[in-house]
């Protein structure tokens, strides 16, 4: 399920809309992840504060969105754009790939809450596909 030219256009357009509040969106998505799927807290056991409004969660969410922005800029070759992150997740972090799907879901929820009616079915479709590709790339080197 690859991205059409139209999908890529939609993802890029959405990104320019949300880029100014990328940090806030990342923080919100990660906050939702740890509340809705509490088992994901295991990956953040070194954070002093594991509430959804924790400054550490917000900072980390911002980082995650930054990486997604990188993938958007290099959307024609997400594998190359996220190559280092792919290695990090495979050899160091060893985040179970199922969690990429969970975060993709909470990110779509955040985008929907943030964009309202602008988060049309076509925008939802394009981002669902794009985040699935990001998830695949991140787990590419696991085995």
């Amino acid at each position: 399920m690859s991205l059409s030219a139209h999908d890529k256009e939609i993802v890029a357009k959405t990104w320019t809309k949300i880029a100014p509040k990328a940090a806030e969106i990342g923080g919100d998505a990660l906050g939702r992840l740890i509340v809705v799927f509490p088992q994901t807290k295991i990956y953040f056991s070194h954070f002093a504060d594991l509430s959804p409004t924790s400054p550490q969660i917000k900072a980390h969410g911002a980082k995650v969105l930054g990486a997604i922005g990188q993938a958007v800029s290099g959307i024609d070759n997400v594998s190359a754009s996220l190559s280092k992150l792919s290695e990090l997740h495979a050899y160091n972090l060893r985040v179970d790939p199922v969690n990429f799907k969970l975060l993709a879901h909470t990110l779509l929820v955040t985008l929907s809450a943030s964009l309202g009616a602008e988060f049309t079915p076509e925008v939802h479709l394009a981002w669902d596909k794009f985040l699935a590709i990001v998830a695949t790339v991140l787990s590419e080197k696991y085995r």
């Binding site: 906050g31 809705v36 879901h105 779509l108 929820v109 929907s112 809450a113 309202g116 079915p121």
Partner: protein, 148 residues
């Protein structure tokens, strides 16, 4: 039996009272389900024109069905302490007659959460989302209970 706190019951009913069943059902089914997961159209072959997002959005059978699904969700909400029994017949229907793969319940559930987020914005907090995802997982479990 599923345990619900007073807070969870309150969260569910507060949001439920604000939901337009027809509109939310329509959005969840069309916007998020038939468009984002187009292979699910296979279950709606008698519904007529589903060729494009605009066709899906304007299709009266789709609208009617979306409403039906959310009205059924209302039944679960009225019977929070006994969703499994409430859905016994529906579960049999989906398994024996409709042959719907239970994965689709999960997909529609996710779509519904996204529609609710779009409608309620910041008021759809992580805690509210968690409660509604719990509700949907109970519903999905009940719907899947009669599958062999």
């Amino acid at each position: 039996m599923v345990h619900w706190t007073e807070e969870e019951r309150c969260t569910i009913s507060t949001l439920w009272d604000k939901i337009d069943t027809e509109e939310v059902g329509h959005q969840a089914l069309t916007r998020s389900h038939l468009v984002v997961y187009p292979w699910t159209q296979r279950y709606f072959s008698t519904f007529g024109n589903l060729s494009k997002p605009a066709a899906i959005a304007g299709n009266p059978k789709v609208r009617a069905h979306g409403k039906r699904v959310i009205v059924a969700l209302g039944d679960a909400i009225k019977n929070l302490d006994n969703v499994k029994a409430t859905y016994a017949k529906l579960s049999e229907l989906h398994s024996e007659k409709l042959h719907v793969d239970p994965e689709n319940f999960r997909l529609l559930g996710e779509a519904l959460i996204i529609v609710l987020a779009g409608q309620f914005g910041a008021a759809f907090t992580p805690a509210v989302q968690a409660t509604w995802q719990k509700l949907l997982s109970v519903v999905i479990s009940a719907l899947s209970s009669k599958y062999h």
